[in-house]
Assembly symmetry: C2
């Protein structure tokens, strides 16, 4: 197993989007405790099969990097597979494969996580491995430099050869003028090229310590078993660093709409993307994040949403259209709209129609029936999500590494239920203000006459 195929540096918004859990409703006993060395532990019992999902989350992501060293959090994620004194490179992954387990790792703007899914009897072994590499990583230039080439190739594949990914990168860079969310998780090419063994080890020693991590165990065990195993493995890891509060530069109040046109011969389907700068669950005032979540669903959650119905079904000018809200974020985050035109429709007219749909909600609000249907659907999707141990574990891990806690995860469905039509309208008015936005057009060069230079 190589990290190229499995790690998820692109930081897709989709993963943590509109799902949560109704743990209380299901009588699920999610518990949490903290070890003496500061490690937070969340236990999510799921007794259906003798399997456990083991995830270790660090409260460290690309937004915590030093300016000029973008990509370091993700690079270190790769390097974490390069071995320790006790376990040479590859042994951990090999053991997971041998016992029929699965493993993965991913880096976001706010966290870096490692996980394995194994049968219960192998849990202690993977916990021992993971605890060992929390502070025991050993790196030589012989392994660091080739791995850097792997990451550079990953960037080429995922971003530099993909115009849509380039545009998305440019949109985030334009949306965030001051906050580090403006830089790509994988890093800028020219900065990845400069990342060194020393930088990686320095970053590792500053941030990889039990008091900066969250262990999530979901599966066939209870709190008592979890505690015993955690004490026996992670409990022995010393607290090697004190970690300062995560205070990042804050965005100034945006006041001018920005537009980006990316023209590339490789574009097959032109498209339109818009990001608005909005509050996250952590930064929002009471109820605003939940209202944005509901608004995203009303505007663009599936084929019954307003954008889809209006642009795709009624007007027939779009092949696709939708909306999303990345609420799980330590700092101010993104609300997105997107649409692709049918042949014969310009991006300009598609954008005008999309703007009209947004303006309708801001002006006339939403009706009670519409909001109820959306809430029911959102909450139902959280019940389905419980069927997936990994999804559940990810929800808790992401929450606890972006400034929320288990209580906020548990209360989430009730808070969604409490969202009123007035709050949704107010959210559209206040946050989907064009001055807070950046709009991207992805086109083929000939589609973009005003940008053409001859």
């Amino acid at each position: 197993m190589t990290m190229i195929a499995t790690c998820a540096a692109a930081g897709s918004a989709a993963v943590l989007l509109p799902v949560s859990v109704t743990a209380q409703q299901q009588g699920m006993q999610v518990s949490e405790f903290r070890l003496a060395n500061g490690l937070d532990v969340v236990v999510i019992p799921d007794r259906r099969t003798p399997v456990v999902t083991h995830m270790l989350w660090y409260r460290i992501g690309s937004a915590d990097e030093t300016p000029g060293k973008s990509g370091l959090a993700h690079f270190l994620e790769h390097l974490m597979f390069k071995g320790t004194e006790k376990n040479p490179a590859g042994r951990f992954s090999q053991v997971v494969a041998t016992i029929g387990g699965q493993e993965n790792a991913f880096t976001s703007q706010d966290y870096t996580a490692y996980f394995q899914r194994v049968t219960k009897e192998n849990l202690e072994q993977v916990m021992t491995f993971e605890a060992d590499r929390m502070t025991g990583l050993q790196l030589t230039d012989e392994v660091v430099l080739p791995e850097r080439d792997v990451v550079l190739e990953e960037r080429r594949m995922r971003t530099d050869n993909d115009p849509a990914a380039q545009l998305s990168e440019a949109l985030s860079a334009a949306l965030y003028v001051n906050h580090p969310y403006g830089r790509p998780i994988i890093g800028w090419m020219h900065e990845i090229q400069q990342l060194s063994r020393e930088s990686a080890l320095d970053f590792y020693r500053r941030f990889y310590t039990p008091n900066n991590a969250v262990l999530v165990l979901a599966g066939d065990l209870d709190e008592k078993e979890a505690r015993a195993l955690a004490e026996k493995t992670y409990g022995k890891v010393p607290r090697v660093a004190e970690v300062a509060p995560r205070v990042r530069p804050v965005e100034p109040e945006p006041r001018a709409h920005r537009r980006i046109t990316l023209a590339d011969q490789r574009v097959r389907q032109p498209s339109l993307s818009r990001y608005y700068l909005v509050p996250s669950y952590r930064t929002a005032a009471g109820g605003e994040a939940e209202a944005l979540e509901v608004l995203a669903q009303i505007l663009g959650g599936g084929q019954t949403s307003r954008l889809y119905r209006t642009l795709v079904v009624e007007k027939g000018i779009a092949a696709n259209a939708g909306a999303w809200y990345q609420g799980t974020s330590l700092d101010a985050t993104r609300f997105g709209l997107y649409a692709s035109p049918r042949p014969g429709t310009s991006l300009e007219s598609l954008e005008a129609a999309l703007d009209e749909v947004v303006a309708q909600i801001a002006k006339h609000g939403v009706d009670a029936g519409e909001i109820d249907r959306v809430k029911t659907r959102v909450i139902a999707s959280t019940i389905f999500s419980q069927d997936n141990q990994t999804t559940l574990a990810r929800i808790y891990g992401a929450a606890l590494t972006t400034g929320m806690n288990t209580a906020s995860v548990k209360e989430w469905p009730e808070k969604i239920k409490a969202v009123t039509p007035e709050q949704v309208q107010e959210a559209a008015k206040k946050w989907l203000d064009i001055r807070r936005a950046v709009t991207g057009h992805l086109v083929r060069p000939q589609d973009s006459a005003p940008e053409k230079r001859t």
Copy 2:
């Protein structure tokens, strides 16, 4: 004299634009030396009147600030007038006023400078004052907090109440996605509000040290006199800090045109601005910066320039149009175009006409007569600049704090003369590529139908 009226935080590109000196031609003996504590000294004799311009330049500007503390370099510039143990607040300025001198201070992205213009017999006194505050600054919250309010008010006046300044700020923020030139010199409002006495002193102690400064003396003295005075005053200041190389995050290769529309009721005259990311004198490969300088003049230097002739005179669609190149910059810098439409002309059609002027040069180049006239004019303007002691001193100070040296200033006219038509065409092709650009439209709300939300 208060600092509000005199300090120049806006960092106008105009000051250091296309002027330099032909010192050799004039037989002017500009000399330089370094004191034992690391202070660089430049002496520019000018014996016409018994007056000396005394400038102390620090190699520290807004681009050297810690992220999240924008505005600190400029704030410290204000605080430098708050007194030392030997000289309480206001005494230095009062003495300068009493002796009939002038003083000023300014902060840019790359430097912070303090200057006085006094009669020769008062020079030693101002040098003594300036040397004293190099390391002797004392600050209390009683002076720091009210001065912060002064800076906040300065920001409100200069930027927040001026739509054109807001757009300019937004354009730089969009042009620079990774490098700190993207943040305003004066700082983001919410970050200025958090600047503290401790932050200011910490910044001061790190960067205000003789080995991080350049003393420029222009006027009625020779090298020997200058050396004696410098030794006697600045020579006694200890080297209090070692300063790390100024390595800032580098911009990724831009690849998508960005547009910003700022609509504001206060806009009287709509306008169009474009910035391209281009190399500076320090970062450019041989001859490229000089070619950009000549290109800026051909495109937009005055009423004989191509933009003015085409848009204002021939087509009659613009009230004004021009171009500039901010070559004096430690890192990758801006090349700017601007135009204001006559009533009845849309910004879109004005922009298309402007693009056509640029495209003509990229496609067909410039002719020998045109380039010769521009070079003659540029070089002549440097001769006029010698008549102004302050301008001369500023040219050397800015050069020596942005990675250049006195030799590069002296050689500059010869290098301008050497620019070929082919280099100018190549510069237009390579650097005035729309993908490297951000374009701003400043409009009244009703002028901007596509952005309007009802």
